[in-house]
Amino acid sequence: MPRTYSGIREQREYTDTYLDLAGSSLQIEQDFKKKCIKNADRTFSQSYQCQELNSISALLSVNDAVLIAHAPQGCVGCITMGADMYRVAQIHRGAEKITSPKILITNLDQSDVIMGGEGKLRESIRLASERYKPKLIFVFTSCASGIIGDDVDAIVREAQPDTEALIVPVHCDGFRSKICASGYDAAFIAISKFVLKGAVPKKEKGLINLFAPMTVSFADQLEIEKLLRRIGLKSNFLPFFSDYDKVLNIPNAEASTSICKVFADEFMKDIEHDFGIPYAHTVMPVGIRNTDKWYRAIAEITGKGDEVEEIIATEHARIQPELDKIKLKLQGKSVFICGGTGRSFAAATLIDDFGMKLLGIETPVYDLDAQDDIAFLNDIHGDYLIDVANMLPFEQVNIVNKLKPDVFIGVPSWSSRFGIPTTHILDPKRPTMGYDGIVWLGNKIAAQIENPGFNKKLSKYARLPYRESWYDEDPFKFIKEVI
C-alpha cells in the first residue's frame, strides 16, 4: 500500500504531537506515556519559521535547478539572505566561480490575488528554462497562492511537455503547518512523486544516502563522510550541494541515514517502501553518545557492526585526554539550551560529556521521537524544565532570568543581554559533528565561558522590550487548554 503522508507533521497519525507545552521533564515524559497531556494553544505568541522557508532551503543548492516561488516578493526573504550561506559554502568547497542560486519569484500582487496568478507562473517556468536550461525546476507554493487556489499541479502538467527540465511542484503553503520541518517533508514528497517515481534501482553496494540540511558545515560534511568511509561506505550527500544526478542516484543506495532528526525522516520511510532501502533514523551526531549512536545505527543496517565498535573504541581513546582537559573547566556548570529539534537534544547530551548540568531546554516539538530523547536525557540529567517552543524569546528571557544558568546554548540575541556567557553548537561554517567536533565544541564552550566580557559589559546598557513585571510572572501563563 502506498504511503499517504500529507507532509503536515502535526497530522501524523502514529504520534501525538504537542507544540504548546511546558513543565518538568519527568512529568512530561510520564504524561506523554499515559497520553494525558492536554491539548493547548498559546494565546500570545511571537513569530515562527514557516514551512515554505524549509522547503526552499532544502533544495536551494541543487546545482542544476532553478527555483520558482509562486508568491509575493516577501516570501523569499530568508532564502535571498540564505543565498549568502550558499556562496560561502562554495568558497569552503574551493569552487573557482562563486554563483548565486537562481530564484525567480512570480511576485503575486493585488490583481493576481483577484484574477489568479497562473499566467505569471507559466511565464516564470518559461523564463527559468530559457535563461538557464536547468535540469530541474522546483515550484514552491505560498500562503497567497494556496488561498487564492491557483492550481499549480495543473499548470506544471500543462507546461511539462514543452519544458526540457523536469518541473517539480512543492506544496508548502506557510499557513498549513506550525512546524517548519513540515517544509522538509513537502520537498521530499515532491521528489518522491515527481523525480523518483517509477525509478528502477541499480543497487550499488556500500552507497549510503546521507541526508543533510543546509545548516551542516562543509567541515561537518567531511567529518561524517570520513566516518562512513572508514567502515567502507560511500556517501551520496544530499540535497545540499547536490545535483540532479545525485537525486536520481537515491534509489540505488544500499541504505539511508540523516544527520538531523527531522530531516528526511519521513522520506526515508518512503524510499524504503518504494525501493526497499533500509534506513537508520537516530540522532544528530553531536557529542560522544550521539555520535556513537548515530554511527552504530548505520553500521548495523549495513552489516558493519563489528568494524564500527573498533573505530569507536579507538576514537574514544584518541579524544579522551582532550575531553579530560575540557571537563576540568566545565564540570558542574549549569546550562539552558534553546535549539531546533536535532540540535537541542544533541546539545543536551553533549554537555553531559563535559560534566555539565541541564537546567532547561527549549525545543520546538514534543512527539514520539522527542519522547525517546527526553527519556534518555531524564536518565542523565534528572528533572529539568522543558519548554516546547519555537524559540519564543519572551518565554526564554523570563525563564533564563529565573533559572540563571552558568551558560546559555543557542541563538544568543536575548540571553547575552543578561550578561551571562552564551555559546552555540549550531555553526554552518565550522565543525560541530563527529569525534573531532566534540573536542572543537568543548574547547569553544570552555573558551566562551571563561571570557564573558562582551556580554557582561553589554548587559549594563542592554535593552529588552519586555515590561519589568513580565519577569515576575509565570512564563507559561499564555499556554491555555483547548477543548
Binding site: 505568541s45 511571537q46 513569530s47 519559521q49 499557513f175 517548519c180 522590550p465
Partner: protein, 428 residues
C-alpha cells in the same frame, strides 16, 4: 503591476512596514499573518542590509497571531485580539501596529475595527491595512510614514522655525541609514537645526507626534513619499524640499546644505563657515591620499538613491569615468524615471552614464553585458558574481548586503566622503 523577478532586491509591503517600525524605538509591530512572515520580512530587509538586527523587536521576537488553516477558513480576529492583549501585557511599547499578511488580506479580516476597539479602551493600537501582496517594501515604507501622518502626528503644534523632518532614507532597506542619519544630523545641527529622523538617536513617538511642528521636510529621495509630502503640506502646512539621491561625497553634501539653508533662510555667513570647515576637513584628508585610488571606469547598480549618490560622487569628486548606472527599484511612473535619469546624468565635468532601469537580476546582468570596459562595479553583494567573472573591482555599497557588517558606517555627508575613499581603496 508587479513582474516576475529573479533574485528580488526587496521584500513585500510587510517587509517595508516591519523595517520602518522596527527602527523606531519602542514601536511594536504585530503580525496578523501566517507563522513565517515576521522572520521572512526581517531576513528580507534587515537581514540583507549589513546584518544589523533591530534592537527592540525583530524576526522571531515579533508578535504574531500565527494564522493557520483554521484562521484562514474561519477568520483570525479572535487570535489577533488575544495577540494584541498579550503584546500590551508584556511588551513595553509606546505604540502597537497591526500588520496584515496575505492570509489576513485575502480573507478580509476586519483588523481596522480591532484597532479601533483597543484605542477606545485607551491603548495605542493602530492598523496598517495594506496587505503583504499589495506591493514591495518601498510601498511598505511609504504606507508606514502615511500611517504616522494620519494616526500619530499631532495637529496644531506651534511651528518650530529650526525643526526639520529628515525623510526618504528608508531604514534597513538602506543599509547605511543609521550612519547617514547620524552624519546629516551632525551637519544640520551646526546650522542650528533640530532634526526629526524618527529612527536614529533614540528617537521615538514624541518626535513623530511633533513632526507637524517642523518648518521643513527634507526628503532625500528622488521618487518616494510624493503622496506623503502632499499630505504633510495639506494637513500640517509643512512644505517639502526634495533632494534626489543620497548626498555621497562633499559636492552633493554641500549642495544639500545650501538648499536646506536657502529654504530656511539661514544666515549665509554661518552656512559658508560650516561648509568651509567641513570641506577642508575632507580635502585635507584627500590631500594625504593623492594617487591612492587608481582611475576606474565604473558601473553603479542600486536603488535610485544610491544610483544617483554614488554616480555623482565617483564622477564629480573622485574623477572616475561613469559608464552605466542601473536603477534596481521598480519605478513605474515615467516622470519619476525621467527625473532619476536626468539627475544621474547631471554631472559637473563629464558626460553622464547610460541609465538602465531593471529590477530582475537576470536583466541587470544582461544590461551590464553591453558594457565590457567596466573596471569597477559599485553594487550589492549580488554583483560580486559579475565582478568576479569579469575580473573587475567590486565595491559593495547597495542593498542587499550580506557579506559586510554595517553598524554606523556611511558614505553620505562629509565624514562619509572620507570613508568612501578609504573603502574604495584596493591594493590589488
Amino acid at each position: 503591476m508587479s513582474i516576475v523577478t529573479e533574485n528580488p532586491r526587496g521584500s513585500c509591503v510587510l517587509g517595508g512596514i516591519n523595517s520602518t517600525l522596527s527602527a523606531v524605538n519602542k514601536f511594536c509591530p504585530i503580525f496578523h499573518s501566517g507563522p513565517g512572515c515576521g522572520l521572512q520580512t526581517s531576513a528580507g530587509e534587515a537581514g540583507q542590509a549589513g546584518l544589523k538586527s533591530p534592537h527592540f523587536l525583530s524576526s522571531v521576537s515579533l508578535p504574531c497571531s500565527l494564522m493557520l488553516e483554521r484562521e484562514v477558513v474561519f477568520g483570525g480576529i479572535e487570535k489577533l485580539t488575544d495577540t494584541i492583549r498579550g503584546s500590551i501585557d508584556i511588551i513595553d511599547a509606546d505604540a502597537y501596529f497591526i500588520l496584515n499578511g496575505c492570509t489576513s488580506g485575502i480573507i478580509g479580516d476586519d483588523t481596522e475595527t480591532v484597532a479601533k476597539g483597543f484605542r477606545a479602551e485607551g491603548f495605542p493600537v493602530y492598523n496598517i491595512p495594506t496587505p503583504g501582496f499589495a506591493g514591495d517594501s518601498n510601498l511598505g515604507y511609504e504606507t508606514t510614514i502615511s500611517t504616522f501622518l494620519s494616526q500619530l502626528v499631532e495637529p496644531g503644534r506651534p511651528r518650530q522655525a529650526n525643526l526639520i523632518n529628515l525623510l526618504g532614507i528608508f531604514p534597513y532597506h538602506d543599509p547605511y541609514w543609521a550612519g547617514t542619519f547620524e552624519e546629516l544630523v551632525r551637519i544640520f545641527s551646526k546650522l542650528g537645526l533640530e532634526v526629526n529622523t524618527f529612527f536614529s538617536h533614540g528617537q521615538g513617538i514624541e518626535h513623530i507626534k511633533n513632526a507637524g511642528a517642523a518648518a521643513l521636510n527634507v526628503i532625500v529621495n528622488p521618487w518616494l513619499l510624493q503622496g506623503e509630502a502632499r499630505k504633510f503640506e495639506k494637513r500640517f502646512g509643512v512644505p517639502s524640499l526634495r533632494f534626489p539621491g543620497l548626498p555621497v561625497g562633499a559636492t552633493d553634501t554641500t549642495r544639500l546644505v545650501r538648499q536646506v539653508a536657502d529654504a530656511l533662510a539661514i544666515d549665509g555667513k554661518l552656512v559658508e563657515d560650516v561648509i568651509y570647515e567641513e570641506e577642508s576637513y575632507v580635502y585635507n584628508y584627500y590631500e594625504t591620499a593623492i594617487g591612492a585610488l587608481s582611475w576606474k571606469k565604473f558601473a553603479v547598480i542600486g536603488d535610485a538613491n544610491v544610483a544617483i549618490g554614488m554616480t555623482h560622487a565617483l564622477a564629480n569628486d573622485l574623477g572616475f569615468t561613469p559608464v552605466v548606472t542601473v536603477v534596481t527599484e521598480p519605478v513605474s511612473r515615467e516622470a519619476d524615471k525621467a527625473a532619476i535619469r536626468d539627475r544621474i546624468q547631471d554631472l559637473e565635468y563629464v558626460k553622464g552614464p547610460d541609465v538602465v532601469f531593471a529590477t530582475d537580476n537576470y536583466d541587470v546582468g544582461r544590461a551590464l553585458d553591453e558594457y565590457n570596459d567596466v573596471s569597477l562595479f559599485v553594487g550589492s553583494s549580488l554583483e560580486r558574481e559579475i565582478a568576479f567573472n569579469r575580473d573587475a573591482q567590486i565595491f559593495v555599497a547597495a542593498y542587499p548586503i550580506t557579506d559586510q557588517l554595517i553598524l554606523n558606517r556611511t558614505y553620505s555627508g562629509y565624514r562619509g566622503a572620507i570613508t568612501l575613499v578609504e573603502d574604495l581603496f584596493n591594493n590589488l
